[in-house]
Subunit: 134 residues, 3 copies
């Protein structure tokens, strides 16, 4: 059983998509989500305090700073824009696919866990997430 | 086929749980493990030399230093304690779920691979790991 | 349905293995790949511009610098060679297993996504990747 969720993004940041997945699953099995892009990721993170997402973004913005930062002078892949190679690096550090067990039709997430699409590009995008349940 | 393993942790570090998983699997299929927390992870790593785990912890402690370190001054999520946001960041960098093929009732791990719960909090915790075999 | 792909590596770098996987899958389901090593990873990344792989390697070489770099002075696991502990750290930051949905016999990869074995050791190696389709 497969479907595709399309998530609209308006710049980099974490977009919660827990409800998309929770509404779609049924029975017992497990859910695999897979993002079809190399400049956005899937992430399970705390969904209580928005400051967690703010700080996560700040951490990754320091780990992979802006293209104009001297620390990024090694960068050669530039023709898709200044934020593209940064997005590929973040994409390598974060999950492309995640698995979540489903028990009696409910995602077995912990109480504080939410599912996010983590967008790394500045421009608006339509992101495809393939969902597979079995 | 699902179960939940509960792992007791006493402060941050890597807790091996290979035996829990190895004893539970059977037949051919594959095993998914999923940690129901946003401040601990699952990790497959070398289980021969304990110095590997020591050095891994040292690396992550440098990448995400203590809350008192000036490099962490961007942190805004503070009310759950000084080690909480650090734990969320490490949690984003490391796996929440892992998949291991099972062949004839045995985990298809490489000879040096062990399964660990990587705890990031200082306080003792009971961590839940959902196991799903199919 | 399981098989093992063996990938020969000649030093660190990204070795594309998309064709191995694409030729093996069939029907609808999903594919899990699992690398049986703690000093190499699997990675889904852009397979259009080779500069992306070059820059990714540069990023990881800065994040986890050579053993002679003062930033790595905490390292205690040394007896398997100067590049071994660096490889374990990279191995913790990158995927050991990946899942890819399969739709009507085709990998549901995005148009720019390729599958790579990311080798972290300098010496030539034979790397085993277990594939499981269901």
């Amino acid at each position: 059983m497969q479907t595709v969720f399309t998530i609209s993004t308006q710049g980099h940041g974490l977009y919660e998509m827990t409800d998309h997945a929770a509404a779609w699953v049924q029975s017992t099995g497990f859910l695999t989500l897979f993002v079809r892009h190399t400049s956005a990721n899937l992430l399970i993170q705390e969904n209580a305090d928005p400051e967690v997402r703010k700080d996560l973004r700040a951490f990754f913005a320091r780990l992979v700073p802006q293209a104009t930062d001297p620390a990024m002078s090694y960068r050669t892949h530039t023709y898709e824009g200044p934020d593209d190679m940064l997005a590929h690096i973040k994409s390598a550090l974060l999950p492309v696919s995640i698995n979540i067990p489903v028990t009696a039709g409910r995602l077995a997430l912990g109480i504080w866990q939410g599912i996010y699409l983590f967008e790394h590009r500045d421009a608006p995008k339509q992101r495809e997430v393939v969902a597979h349940l079995q």
